[in-house]
Symmetry: none
DNA sequence: GTGTAACCGAGACGGTACGTCGTGTCTTATT
DNA sequence: AATAAGACACGACGTACCGTCTCGGTTACAC
């Protein structure tokens, strides 16, 4: 049942304009140099319109980044029957998505937003990486069921390693995100076959 | 050649007091709620004394965290001849070091400082993780030379995975840093022997 | 023609509260010990609200003092037909107005504000004393027209003497402003009849 | 008895250099924009050397201005037997001394120093104007004794008027100090003969 | 000559105020 | 009721200044 809305409804156009302005500024200036005033004036919007929708700058930035992340494409981890190929395929797409400097900047902005609030930070990371993390674990468990993956595998540790690698490279080596794709192959090789001679 | 030392020299006592105060406040309040004013008053110091040494809050926090990290103990990656045992030993010590909430809080603070400044962020991570990263790569190369590790191993990818895992868990799951130690074993198993059945 | 009035208008209540707080602090502490922070907190106001209205402490103090001076009463120099009586009456009222320690403190504060800025200082004094100075000159010219005052009188010199005396006593002998009133009579006697035997 | 002075004696050269630097800066920048650091570096001197001699900036400025005032010439109020001529002569010399913009700037600086401290301010004005004030009163009393001046003259009021006029013009009309000399004549005329027709 | 005490330039120190900027709330007129 | 504009309380930023303290080094008197 739709709850009766009185008065002027919120403009979805305005909503999108704010998120766009936020992303543009984040990419151009970085989290610290983006102020709510700047976002408002850049979006041609009053400041109250921002706070009517998001309770804080961190939340606005979070939604702006997540919004791009979700609309930016699907990172579905398919099950073609070959675990190694499926994980390799997914990791390469994931690395490619983060490779463009703008997207890397957005991830860094989200890290900054997460750092703002100790409590919300955890939730933010979970929102960003949770679905992928779960997908990797599920695929590995399917691999175990299919007899392709050793039953004693610590699936959480492997999922952490795949996502942690991406995150670490984005945060610590933002200028070499291009290489991340190359090393994705090496990482999958090591995890599937082991590094032991 | 004499680097003319004129005027009153900077006090090392004051220097240490500032770093101590910074760490105490970071642990208690988190990066966002630590202000230069608070650090100064907590350290019984004038604000100018802070800015005489560090150009910004991010730099001060970086040094405070690094200082604790360095003095906090050595994470030497020994070479006992057994690559798997050496890496496992080192990763467990590394995970244990980050496990205490206070140390986790300091790492999170460093991430926040890095996120603040697009330019310095990269350097900060490199300072923090660089030595460990290099040590892992070197040990793997020695393993290759000793015939214990496959020659085609992407040593950088493996190093990224080990350090990225730790970082990811600290940032995204700060309340479960204790479990990180447990999964360290699983990660080493997977990387050494592979997950393939 | 419409001076686009958009956004929240500036509060006159706040304006008055700031001027009141400024005067209270000036009287209690003196110009040097009044800070913008203190004025703001005493007025229950943010510092930016001060700087939105006045560009500097000197300007704020100037307006606060002037405001009291203007609203404090009229020092009209009447024309009853008797120049000596009119000037004597006006000078006594003027001296009395400055006599209370609080008012003397405000005048001293204005002198301090004027000294702060070489450029604005002149304008400040002119605002404070200009109207009175003009009134004295005008009354003397009317006296000349009425045949009561010698035609070759240097009316500006006489106006300077009357106002300069008050100012000098307030600045140089703040503890004896009470006596100023007594000497006002003597000054008028000397100027009207001359001191020559 | 001279108290035995041990150790290196204070340099009179340094003393003079500091006062010179202080005056130069006061004339160039005004009281508020002269800092102790600037005076020290301008005089090629350590800051402690300033504070070894003067307890505060206000005191240093006061001495610098007074020093120029005293060495600048004598304003002796002679007694030639003609009160009117003597006062006129003295007032003209006094006005001339203050006329140059640099000297006016120094007087304004002293006013600023006096405004800094409510207690010392009074003493400063007394030091600056006291001797002249006393001299005027004494000369008038001699005039009374000689029968040239009316016995009921309020000599203090007259002295206040003469000195107050000079001060008022310097503070309120610094750009027209040249005219001050012209009006000195008119003021003496009015005070001696009265303005009554 | 050789202490030694006070001086000197330099600059770090604790503290306070400055004037600016950012966050999140509130208040206008307008739509 | 939502909007653009912008004032508001609060508080952090980074700089400048005051007056003190602490270095290495110098100068003149006393022994």
């Amino acid at each position: 049942m739709t709850e009766s809305r009185r008065g002027r409804p919120r403009s979805t156009v305005v909503h999108a304009a704010i998120l766009d302005a936020t992303r543009a500024l984040l990419i151009e200036k970085g989290y610290a140099d983006v102020s709510m005033d700047r976002v408002a004036s850049h979006a041609g919007v009053g400041k109250q319109t921002l706070y009517r929708r998001w309770p804080s700058k961190a939340q606005l930035v979070a939604e702006a980044v997540m919004d791009a992340h979700h609309s930016g494409g699907s990172f579905a981890l398919l099950d073609t029957g070959d675990v190694a190929a499926d994980l390799r395929d997914w990791l390469l797409r994931y690395a490619d998505a983060v490779a463009p400097p703008q997207n890397a900047a957005l991830v860094r902005a989200l890290a900054a937003a997460a750092a703002e609030d100790l409590r919300d930070g955890e939730a933010l990371y979970r929102q960003l990486t949770g679905p992928q993390h779960d997908a990797v674990m599920q695929r590995l468990r399917q691999g175990i069921a299919a007899g392709q993956v050793r039953a004693d595998t610590d699936v959480e540790a492997v999922a952490d390693a795949l996502i942690g690698t991406i995150l670490y490279r984005v945060l610590a080596r933002p200028t070499t995100t291009g290489e991340t794709t190359r090393h994705a192959d090496g990482l999958i090789d090591a995890l599937i076959a082991g590094v032991r001679a």
